[in-house]
Amino acid sequence: MAKSTIYAGLEIGTHKICVVVGEAKRDGAIKILGVGQAPSRGVRKGEIVDFEKVQTCVNDALVRAEDRSDVMIRNVFLGVTGAHIESLNNRGRHRLPDEQTEIGEDDVEEAKEIARSVSIPQSNVFLHSVTRQYIVDGQEAVRQPIGREGRVLEADYHIIHGVRGRVQNAIRCVREIPLEVEDVVFNPVAAAQVVLTREAKMQGALMIDFGAGTCDYVLYEDGMITASGCVPLGGDHITNDVSMALQIPNGRAERLKVEEGSVLYDEVPEGEMLSIEDDTGLILGEIERAFLNEVMNLRTKEILTQVRVRVEDHLGRLGAGIYLTGGVSMMKGVDVVAREVFGIKVTRAGSAPVSGITATFENPQYSAPIGLIRYAQILDSEKPFLSPLKRLGRRMQELLSSITL
């Protein structure tokens, strides 16, 4: 039996589709074996609108990833996002039976069940329910309640849910490729696993994954996930603003944004001009650099303000500040604007160091797909370790019980 497991993460982004193959070692280290990437078509605001186009693109990315990593990919962890995904915190309160004073495993299960039975809209489905903490008789931040003395046990849960149909569509799209979806993960949750360090989570941090279609965020407080969500605005909106302001095609606007654009315009000398070329390289006209930057600045500020509005209540408790990741975080000056909007320390970050292709992990574009590998690893480590023999035994047991039922 191998001592390490190989996982594949698939992120269907608005700008690019990315497959990352990684090897998770027993000691917790991750080695990236290969990355396959293809430009994305048929995705708007993080959600799939054109199945066929997306499938072609996923296939491209998949072939590249398999080529580089020399691994055959059958199962993937799928990252999803979209405006429909929401989150909430809920507490389940469980009173121990009168004659019992010590908290047992059953009581924890009961409290968990009560916490998880929160009413979400009928069309929605749970994506994640993460235990934040346990509270025993009002004493907060208990990690391990089993064996403690107490009367009332509360389980504090962070629940992320999204519209069933939309999540299912993403899964179906991938299944038709055909790839088996092992688990569906909300993108920022995955990205936070590699962008935020344990210390940052403990001090309190807000991670913003500023992508092309959406701006996803996760907020940690005292090491616990407190808020998460998605603002359906992103880099594409910046490009669209530029293209409409300058009346140039979208592709040209995108290039202009990436090559020349910045969100700082105060320091740009007055009258500095930029020439706009068309596809054949002919010069179409000139624009003021300050104008381009201002258009981008207004939009960026607005998107970040939208994030701010959603996490307003927790901003005072973020010791580690804000971590910006995702493609747009590479834009010039975005950290300055984020600082203006939030008023706290802003760090631009990619994934934390992992071994493997070194050029990859530093790029903030790959935070989410690498995060998927890490997420998969964490998920597996939480399962009790079973020796291969026991695993076989359990499988047999499952098989037998399914026959008898």
Partner: protein, 560 residues
């Protein structure tokens, strides 16, 4: 509430098993009876009554009554309760013949349609006249079936409530929660029928089978005693290890109880635990203890315990209670007040909290409450559907004349009652519809006066001078040069504005207009240019479509 006249019941009836009759009225009712016939779960006389012969032909019930054979000629009532009532009156002899000599009569009907809502009250009255205990199991229509059917159902419900000893009401809206959304409609209806059949069986077995701790009809009626109440019913059966807990869990899972949450408000709760010979006291104690967590301390728990060899090694838990409609709706919109499941508002993320689904249609409440100011004169008159004296005097069904006059009499009070409901209906929707209409109507008046504040003018001026005081103004100035078609319009507005200012409008008036103009802006969203996002779902925050370029929206704001 029970008007069970013991003097009328034959001697020795208390020792023998009570004779039960189940009548299914209309389409929904006959489906339930079919289900019971197929499952052979209750030892009872099963009667199916319908106006439509085709449905009757398919019915599995041993006794079938065609309502109003001469009148309807075997065709359904077509959603008209008056026709259904008339048909039942035609066939009342047949009905009486079928259901008399029973101790308990269950009437199952789907309210809202013609036969169900029209005939069920008539049958209930006949049943009451035979001296039996009458229990009605009715379903309310889906909210998508429209207000009219709902009104018809409410009306029939009121008639039934006066005649039945106990009323068990199921909301079809809640039935939707019984199954997964992807399941077929057939399964949905099957499940609903099954649940109703289950409740019928449970009620009849609880009240009839001898038990260690016996539950009587009085317990049942006190559990269901709740004016205009909806029934909370849960049934669970399990076997194997931990069967008590499993059975309770299943019972609590019933959508009619909303995973036990609705139990926090009940005053009376009937619990019946039944099992085979192997049922132990520890198991019963465990079930009751576990249930205690879902029920507040002051609730009156009516506990029953039975040993039934038929159950074998299974344990069955039945929960029956009722909750007033107001409480039910209050629960659906607000969080449970009980301390047991308190969602912490302060711990929630600041995003819009997901609306708690309100399964019971809220608009029922005004429709229900509205008739009360109008109703008293109607209700004070004894609204018998037919007079028992006449009933006895007219033996033959074929004599048309007295019957039609009878029908007129019967219809009269009902029609007067319909009026207030209709009034209430008319009164209510305009209140909703007028609000946008008023706003739209109001806006043209204000719209032709371009709303100007001095501040906006200053900004516009600043924009023209190209001063870099305000970044917003600077963007406006630049974008104006790009979108040339906007410039003349703006000039025009500003010149108008100067005239307007000379007329010295008071500051308050300007402010008031500004607010109307702001609300107007939300209506003109569709025409804005969203570029490449034009065919995607709009991202609207506080009335602004965020897909429209930021600079474009800011310019709009400045112009105002």
């Amino acid at each position: 509430m029970v008007e069970y006249d013991r003097s009328q019941s034959p001697e020795g009836a208390s020792t023998a098993a009570p004779r039960i009759c189940i009548v299914g009225v209309g389409g929904a009712g006959s489906n339930v009876v079919d289900r019971i016939t197929l499952d052979r779960i209750v030892d009872a006389t099963l009667v199916c009554a319908h106006t439509d012969v085709r449905v009757l032909g398919h019915s599995m019930a041993p006794v079938k009554i065609q309502l109003g054979a001469e009148l309807m000629k075997g065709i359904g009532a077509g959603g008209d309760p008056d026709l259904g009532r008339e048909a039942a009156l035609f066939s009342r002899d047949q009905i009486r013949h079928a259901i008399e000599n029973h101790d308990i009569i269950f009437i199952s009907a789907g309210l809202g349609g013609g036969t169900g809502s029209g005939a069920a009250p008539v049958i209930a009255e006949i049943a009451k006249n035979t001296g039996a205990l009458v229990l009605v199991v009715a379903t309310m229509p889906f909210s998508f079936e429209g207000r009219r059917r709902l009104a018809q159902a409410e009306e029939a419900l009121e008639l039934l409530q006066k005649r039945a000893d106990a009323l068990v009401l199921f909301e079809n809206n809640r039935m939707g929660e019984l199954i997964l959304p992807k399941d077929g409609i057939q399964k949905a209806f099957n499940q609903a029928d099954q649940l109703i059949a289950q409740s019928l069986r449970a009620i009849s077995t609880i009240t009839t089978t001898p038990g260690l701790v016996k539950l009587g009809l009085d317990d049942l009626t006190s559990a269901l005693a709740n004016a205009n109440g909806r029934c909370l019913f849960g049934f669970g059966e399990a076997r194997g290890q931990n069967r008590g807990a499993e059975a309770l869990k299943k019972a609590l899972k019933s959508p009619l109880i909303d995973s036990g949450r609705l139990l926090h408000q009940t005053k009376n709760l009937l619990v019946h635990v039944a099992g085979g010979e192997s049922l132990t006291l520890v198991e019963v104690e465990g079930v009751m203890k576990q249930l205690g967590r879902h029920v507040p301390d002051q609730t009156h728990i009516l506990f029953g315990l039975g040993v039934d060899a038929k159950l074998g090694d299974a344990v069955a838990v039945t929960l029956i209670s009722s909750l007033g409609l107001n409480q039910l709706n209050a629960h659906a919109t607000a969080a449970p007040p009980s301390e047991m499941l308190q969602p912490r508002a302060e711990a929630m993320a600041p995003m819009p909290a997901p609306a708690i689904p309100a399964p019971a249609p809220k608009r029922e409440v005004p429709a229900k409450k509205a008739p009360s100011p109008y109703a008293p004169p109607v209700e004070s008159t004894p609204d018998l559907l037919f007079k028992s004296a006449e009933f006895n005097a007219v033996p033959a069904v074929g004599e048309a004349f007295p019957l039609t006059s009878l029908h007129l009499e019967a219809a009269a009070p009902v029609q007067t009652r319909e009026l207030p409901v209709a009034l209430a209906e008319e009164e209510e929707p305009p209140a909703f519809e007028e609000t946008p209409a008023q706003v739209i109507a109001a806006t043209p008046e204000t719209a032709h006066i371009p709303v100007r504040t001095p501040a906006a003018k200053e900004l516009a001026d600043a924009a023209r001078n190209g001063s870099k005081e305000s970044t917003l103004a600077a963007v406006v100035a630049r974008s104006v040069t790009l979108q040339t078609e906007a410039t003349p319009a703006q000039d025009d507005l500003i010149s108008f504005d100067e005239q307007h200012e000379s007329t010295t409008i008071s500051a308050t008036a300007v402010l008031a207009r500004k607010s109307t103009a702001e609300s107007q802006q939300t209506f003109s969203l569709g025409e804005e240019d969203r570029g490449r996002f034009k065919d995607t779902e709009p991202s609207i925050v506080q009335g602004e479509d965020l897909d429209v370029p930021t600079w474009m929206r800011l310019k709009k704001k400045l112009r105002r």
